[in-house]
C-alpha cells in the first residue's frame, strides 16, 4: 500500500511522515513534488507539516495553488483518503477541502509540546483502528492552530460528527486548560462530510516510536492501512 507524501516548498515534516510510514509502519511511501501532475497511483495522500512558502501571508494560503492540489482535490472527490497534518491541515482549510480557518494561537506564540487528544469518531479512514474516546498523547508544534469556523458551520460540523479529534486532559475531559491554542470547541481535527479527508493540528507522525516520547500517533496511520485494505482498494480515489 502506497502513501504519497506531498512536498511543498517549505514543508519540513515530509521526512518525518515518510519515516513513520516506511520505517515504522512498513508501508510504501513516495515523495510527490508539488509541481508534479500525478499522485502516481498512491492509495493515501498525506500533506505534511512545515512552513509551506514560509507561512508567509497566511498558513497554507500559497500552497493551495500548487499544481498537485488539483490532483489531490480530484483524489479526494473520488473518495480517496487524504490527511493533512498541521501545515497540511492549514492547506486543506485554505483550499476548501475542509471548512473553517486558523487563527493565531491564543498565546500569540509558537507552541511545541505534548498534548492529549480524544478520538471522537472512528468512522473515518484515519481513526478506524481507534477505540471511541481513546485518548492519544501526541505533540503539537504550531503558531496558528486556533481553529475557527462561523457559528452555523460549527453547528453543522458537530451535528454531522465531523469533529474527529478534540483537545482534552489525559483522562479525556474537555476543559479550557486542556485547550492549548484557543480552538473553538477544543477542536484538534476534523473531516469533510464524505469523511475521507481529515485534517489535524497535532503530529501523529512524531509520535510513532517510544524513543521519541510516544507511539500513540501510530494508530492514525494504522487506521488508514486497515481501512484501505479492508475496502480492497475501493477507497482509492485516483483513476490510475
Amino acid at each position: 500500500m502506497k502513501f504519497a507524501v506531498v512536498v511543498f516548498p517549505g514543508s519540513n515534516c515530509d521526512h518525518d511522515a515518510y519515516h513513520a510510514v516506511k520505517h515504522v509502519l512498513g508501508q510504501d511511501a513516495e515523495f510527490v513534488w508539488h509541481k508534479d501532475a500525478s499522485l502516481r497511483g498512491a492509495d493515501v495522500v498525506l500533506l505534511p507539516g512545515g512552513f509551506s512558502y514560509g507561512d508567509y501571508l497566511r498558513t497554507g494560503a500559497i500552497a493551495r495553488f500548487s499544481p498537485i492540489m488539483r490532483e489531490v482535490t480530484r483524489f479526494a472527490a473520488g473518495g480517496g483518503p487524504v490527511i493533512g497534518i498541521c501545515n497540511g491541515f492549514q492547506v486543506l482549510l485554505e483550499c476548501g477541502l475542509l471548512p473553517g480557518a486558523m487563527l493565531r494561537n491564543r498565546s500569540v506564540q509558537f507552541q511545541c509540546e505534548f498534548v492529549h487528544v480524544r478520538v471522537e469518531q472512528v468512522d473515518t479512514p484515519f481513526t478506524a483502528a481507534c477505540v471511541p474516546g481513546q485518548v492519544l498523547r501526541i505533540p503539537i508544534a504550531h503558531g496558528e492552530g486556533n481553529y475557527y469556523a462561523e457559528p452555523d458551520v460549527l453547528t453543522a460540523l458537530e451535528a454531522n460528527r465531523q469533529v474527529i479529534f478534540r483537545y482534552t486532559t489525559a483522562s479525556g475531559d474537555v476543559t479550557e486548560a486542556a485547550n492549548p491554542n484557543g480552538s473553538l470547541n477544543n477542536i484538534a481535527g476534523i473531516c469533510n462530510t464524505q469523511r475521507n479527508v481529515v485534517g489535524l493540528m497535532p503530529h501523529p507522525e512524531r509520535a510513532c516510536e517510544l524513543a521519541v516520547g510516544s507511539r500513540d500517533g501510530l494508530v492514525v496511520l494504522e487506521s488508514v492501512v486497515k481501512s484501505v485494505s479492508s475496502a480492497g482498494g475501493a477507497l482509492a480515489g485516483s483513476p490510475q
Binding site: 495553488f65 485554505e94 493565531r104 494561537n105 500569540v108
Partner: protein, 90 residues
C-alpha cells in the same frame, strides 16, 4: 499605480494578536486605547491605466489570495495620482 489593500478580521472573529497588543498597551499605561484589532496592510504596485482598472485588479488579488473570506474582509484604496491622497502621512 499604487493601490492599498487593508485586510481585517471580521468583527465576529476573535483577534488574539489585537487582544495581546491591547493588554500590552494597558500595561504600559496607554489606557486611552480601549481596544485594538490587528489586520494586514498591502501596498500594491499595479500596472493599470485607470483607478477603476487598478481597483478591479487589486480586488481580484484580494479575492483569490490576500484575504481569506472565512475570517477576513478587505477594503481597497487607489492612490489616484489625479486626486489628493487621504490621511496624514508620517
Amino acid at each position: 499605480m499604487r493601490v492599498r489593500v487593508y485586510v481585517t478580521l471580521k468583527p465576529s472573529v476573535f483577534d488574539p494578536q489585537g487582544r495581546t497588543v491591547t493588554e500590552a498597551l494597558h500595561s504600559i499605561g496607554h489606557d486611552a486605547v480601549r481596544d485594538v484589532r490587528q489586520g494586514k496592510y498591502f501596498e500594491l504596485d499595479v500596472a493599470a491605466g485607470t483607478a477603476a482598472e487598478a481597483s478591479r485588479i487589486a480586488s481580484a488579488a484580494a479575492d483569490t489570495l490576500l484575504a481569506n473570506p472565512v475570517i477576513e474582509s478587505y477594503r481597497i484604496d487607489v492612490d489616484d495620482p489625479a486626486a489628493v491622497g487621504p490621511g496624514a502621512a508620517r
